[in-house]
Amino acid sequence: MADAVIGTLILLALWQGLAFALQDRFLIAGPAQVLGWSIANAGLIGRALVVTGSNAALGFLAGNLAAIGLAALALVVPRLIPMISGLALVVFCLPMVATGPILRVMMGPGNGPQIVLAALAVYYTTLIPLLAGLRAAPASWLDLIHVYGRGRWAELRHIRLRAALPYLAAGLQIAAPAAFLGAMVGEFTGAERGMGVLTIRFTRALDIPAIWSLAAIAALVAIAAYALIGGIARRILHEPPPVILAPPPGGPTQRGWMQALAVLIAVLALWWAGMRLAGLSPFFAKRPSDVLAALAWAPDAAQTRGTLATALAQTARHVLPGYCAGLALGAGLAVLLGLVPRLSAVLTPLAVALRSIPIVTTAPLIVLLAGRGAAGTVLLVAVMVFFPTFVACQHGLRQAPGRILDVFDSYAASRLRKLIHVGIPAMLPALFAAARISVPAAVLAVTVVEWLATGGGIGGLMSLSASVSDYDMLWSAVVLVTLMSWLGHAVISAAERRVLATHAPEQVRP
């Protein structure tokens, strides 16, 4: 606790110092200025917080109930697990930047898109840990149930539900700030009130104290929600929620490919049936065949493909360096701090808190600081990837087996040697899990910053298409971005399985 306070004070001092040093450039509002602005505009912020907070809360509830329902279905029919997690991943990879405007057109004015986006932002982060948690019970605990002739109901009642609780808590903890993010993105699409509306208004007006204040308040709300759920979980479970390292999905076996194909068919069928059953106008609610036509045989298909390829290439030039830099910095700093445990104790609580800040609130800040060019976008993606990677890698380093470290200690091995031979190998599963989960996060970051600030790349194209009602282009972009995220996720999963097979075989056991 004391370490967390020291870390926060250091951060505030650095922030104030930087604001003071750069005061002539009108880029940074320091903590004092932020506090002043927030007090002066307390009524405005309070009203916006109530609107965004209630939408986020409704989305949080709906998304988590959906996740719990899907996990229950997976438990009752285990054969559905690959299909459920496959569909969940595809929906998670949908770029919010595009689903927001589409939902706005479909649902009209009001809070609908905010709540749906908040629900979409949270259900995956709850579902995946919950699925892992429900399956996390060691076989020997289940043997105990079977020895007394009891079946799956007793397994569920006495073991699985309780064993899954820490995983559920960890999922909910990550979900709380994600719901806030979803609600804010929903507000960007044309809501009348809320933190997202204020963010857009003040970003356009380049009101520096207001932008920094909104970012700080959204960050505080996210951190508070994260801490509150963590606190409740600790009280109930007598232990902090785990850092989740959900194992990668099935391997590239023939069965794995068949499952991927089944998921693809299910996505197309659900998409088509959903649009048809809802009776939505084909003008804005495009079907799979419309997207295929727009990309393959429509008169302007070649032009559509060219526009999309140019935008995707531009986005790739930002997202790839940012993603790699975020991973390298996150893992690198975790390893370096492994050599200086005292510094690690100060910085880790801070990093855990900063991890929960919704990216959309920092996007205007980072663009303010690093400009609207490539640097700002790359930096934003790197920041988005850095924090989860850093926190996961620190967790991974702590998994280094004590007995093996004892062996090294018995030879008086140096900290560096222990880190190289024990710590880093133990960290690899965490690094890969972070890399995998960061793929959709990096795509979200790059599309948000392109949408809100730079106007380039696929995010800019989706924003432009939405504003000129070019729904063929918008839906095609959604399909391609989702596909790219899904493929990136699959490539990392394949690499992860190879590494885990050596370093953590228990995680890839069938």
Partner: protein, 254 residues
């Protein structure tokens, strides 16, 4: 014809992929008798125990307990297993872990029996402790108490004293057998330790290296209850030597 009392294994065979764990294992374990299964590491002893408990199904062969398949007895809560890994649920106290077995076996709660058993295994003061705060040996003793609390007809112990210190092991070896004899349990004990096998059992089966087959079937005609001084007697040494010779022979032949 009346069903044969005790455990009857006939032609048991179990393989895990290419690895053959048990081959053509046939034996009869008399009712209320304690039998130790002794053999080299990885010879398939634990697999045998799992087959007898009905936790794994044999590829070939049958297991019958008092003429019935193990599943039938498990449903009645008549089988207890103390696993090599204590498998205590981390969110329950030691006492609640022990009590859970009665709940699973659909027996009424009996806090007095739980307390008595925990006392007997030396955990009286740790009844309200969670497993994370107990040592490896203490967890194993809690698991033994859990196996006994249902008063099982068949008791399967997989290296139950593996993590227990020598002094406690001797104490447990003296205190526990009278309890399972009083219950009339047919007890199978898997162990690496030859002296433990002699001290606890009425009969010792020496198994070959994998796949497990019986290489010697040795009676232990020593009276119960067994005193702490028994391991120092010539009769004890003679049986120990007999088992060690059978083990050496099995290892040489492999």
């Amino acid at each position: 014809m009346a069903a044969e009392a005790g455990i009857a294994c006939a032609g048991l065979h179990k393989a895990f992929g290419e690895v053959e764990a048990v081959r053509d294992f046939s034996a009869h374990f008399a009712s209320a008798q304690t039998t130790a299964l002794v053999g080299p590491s990885g010879c398939g002893k634990s697999t045998l125990l799992r087959l007898i408990a009905g936790l794994d199904m044999p590829d070939r062969g049958t297991v019958a307990i008092d003429g019935q398949p193990p599943e039938r007895l498990r449903e009645r809560g008549a089988i207890s297993v103390a696993f090599q890994d204590p498998s205590l649920l981390p969110w329950l106290t030691a006492a609640r872990n022990v009590a859970l077995a009665r709940k699973l076996a659909r027996q009424p709660a009996d806090p007095a029996l739980v307390a008595r058993l925990l006392q007997m295994v030396g955990l009286g003061q740790f009844a309200q402790s969670r497993p994370a705060t107990l040592s490896g040996g203490m967890r194993q003793r809690a698991a033994i108490a859990r196996a006994l609390v249902t008063g099982p007809g068949v008791l399967l112990l997989d290296e139950p004293f593996g993590a227990v210190d020598e002094l406690t092991r001797r104490q447990l070896a003296q205190d526990l057998p009278p309890l399972w004899h009083e219950m009339g349990a047919t007890t199978l004990l898997v162990t690496h330790s030859v002296s433990e096998a002699v001290l606890l059992s009425d009969r010792v089966l020496v198994l070959s290296p994998r796949p497990a087959q019986i290489v010697a079937d040795i009676d232990v005609p020593l009276p119960h209850p067994r005193s702490p001084a028994l391991p120092d007697t010539p009769a004890f040494h003679r049986i120990e030597a007999q088992i060690r010779a059978a083990l050496s022979h099995a290892l040489d032949a492999a």
